[in-house]
Symmetry: C2
């Protein structure tokens, strides 16, 4: 969901799902709860807390219902879960989430490799999830993230027409919004501007979040480009955890700390306290000792005399 | 100097000066020459090869004349040297450089701390250097880089009026162009756009390069912002060497490899071959074994099917 004011930005924290899912170890449930609380205390108001997938595939996410239960106790937090299909949606709705997010790949090759479904079959899955949502919990938001929207490691180029058509099909099938994800870090600012402009022309206010990766260092530049095109919701993860990092120093996901710093320095309101955000790294480190986490702002500290939150009046 | 075409970008490589100057060890002259040749072979056509300062202050730069002599043998390369004052300019002109660059700090505190001169005294130094240039080698370009243009670790905020006035004074004193440097990594895209817009309004085509740092991860986003405002020359260093890095993973200078990747991916022409640019890391590593160097694109490799140089026709 887009933040309401022109100078407001919604940072959608994906670390507890996207981040933890890409780490082979499993963070103990207690640490997850402490970490989510710390993220909330920093001012984050949308958190992707888990995914609902078979535990045999992703043992890291087996405690989803417990994690959701805790997150629901935090007032004003939008509790989001990733679900790959109708069955996952059923579990998530039963757990009481506020928002479902479903990845739908614009790359034909990636769609088959990732969920063993064609893109058309995924649109039908969205239709089924939307119907289930309307039946069980009509207030729940349903978001689609068009993955590999900017290119794919399997098929290379992904035609822009495919991306835009798929986003429109998902909205027509019942999704409240479709965002665009740079799953493999191929995006560049010119492409980001062009695609979000086309997306908005096609589906208007149902154009959703920008989910950018920092694989080649362009994460923040691509977020800036998306901001310029009117995007007001951005996915990122604390410490850049997750998002298929390729190499030391090359985080996959955009680093929440750096993203918040950029927007706050630009005089925009994220609602996030950077000092408390840095403190949220403590339970992350404690729960996954030795796991590499990233971020330039945490190392460099804030500029002398830096005042944040000036736009949040 | 701005590249002539709207879709062309000039990458001004500062590693052999700015990079090597911030490393306490001294790279042997032979390695410097090999490194500069490799940068040239990759297509870079402006390189800041050394500074002319007393060897007792910067022993790393004691072989400046020899380095310049070698660089002058590379056809079509603009050979640039940093000089802090008239005496340094004299040595650089004698060595035969094509371009002088002089840092002039917009922060009163930083100016005194860095060169023990007030800003007004530095404007007079520019006047003296310009006169010397006209006398000895009128074809040589004189560039000023306004340092701490976006903030200062000593005095914090730097008034924008100070920055713009100083740039205009330097041009009036004889500089061919004034660029803006984010010496300490404080800049944000909104500020970058605002300042370069004001600079262009004030001095027109004499508005020079953007020298951005990646201290807080915003280096490429700030370069994008400067590009949007018409800047066509960007300073960066191979492997992000130099530029006061604060911490592991936090390079100071913008990484040439990532910057070239961004612009090429945007369909712009840098004239630089990314594969050969990666090869230029070899002599850098060989000449400074164990020195940390940075860059995401070198770790992640190019996207599948990526074609560069499409705009260079």
């Amino acid at each position: 969901m887009q933040a309401p004011l022109q100078n407001h930005v919604l940072i959608s924290e994906v670390g507890p799902r996207d981040g933890l899912q890409s780490v082979s170890r499993t963070m103990a449930t207690d640490y997850k709860l402490r970490w989510i609380t710390a993220l909330y205390d920093a001012g984050l108001r949308e958190i992707e807390v888990c995914s609902f997938v078979p535990a045999k595939h992703l043992p890291q996410m087996a405690d989803g219902a417990k994690v959701v239960e805790h997150a629901l106790s935090l007032p004003g937090l939008t509790v989001m879960a990733l679900v790959p299909n109708r069955r996952g949606a059923q579990s998530a709705l039963k757990a009481g989430v506020h928002k479902l997010t479903v990845p739908v790949s614009a790359s034909a090759a990636h769609s088959l490799a990732n969920v063993r479904k064609t893109r058309d079959e995924m649109v039908e899955e969205i239709r089924a999830i939307a119907a289930l949502r309307s039946e069980l919990a009509p207030q729940v938001q349903l978001e689609v993230g068009i993955s590999t929207a900017f290119g794919c490691t399997l098929q290379g180029d992904v035609p822009e027409d495919d991306v835009i058509r798929l986003a429109a099909q998902c909205v027509a099938a019942g999704a409240d919004e479709s965002g665009l994800s740079d799953t493999v870090g191929y995006a560049n600012p010119t492409q980001v501007r062009r695609l979000f402009r086309r997306l908005r022309a096609e589906i208007g206010d149902r154009a959703g979040a920008a989910h950018m990766h920092n694989t080649r260092g362009l994460g923040l530049a691509n977020c800036l480009a998306a901001w310029d095109e009117g995007v007001r919701t951005f996915d990122s993860s604390l410490g850049g955890l997750g998002g298929c990092p390729y190499a030391p120093g090359a985080s996959g996901n955009v680093v929440t700390e750096d993203l918040v710093f950029m927007f706050e320095a630009m005089g925009l309101c994220t609602g996030v306290d950077i000092g408390k955000l840095l403190a949220a790294r403590v339970p992350l480190r404690a729960g996954l000792p030795g796991e590499p986490i990233y971020g330039m702002t945490p190392e460099a500290c804030l500029p002398k005399g830096f005042v944040q939150g000036v736009a949040c009046v």
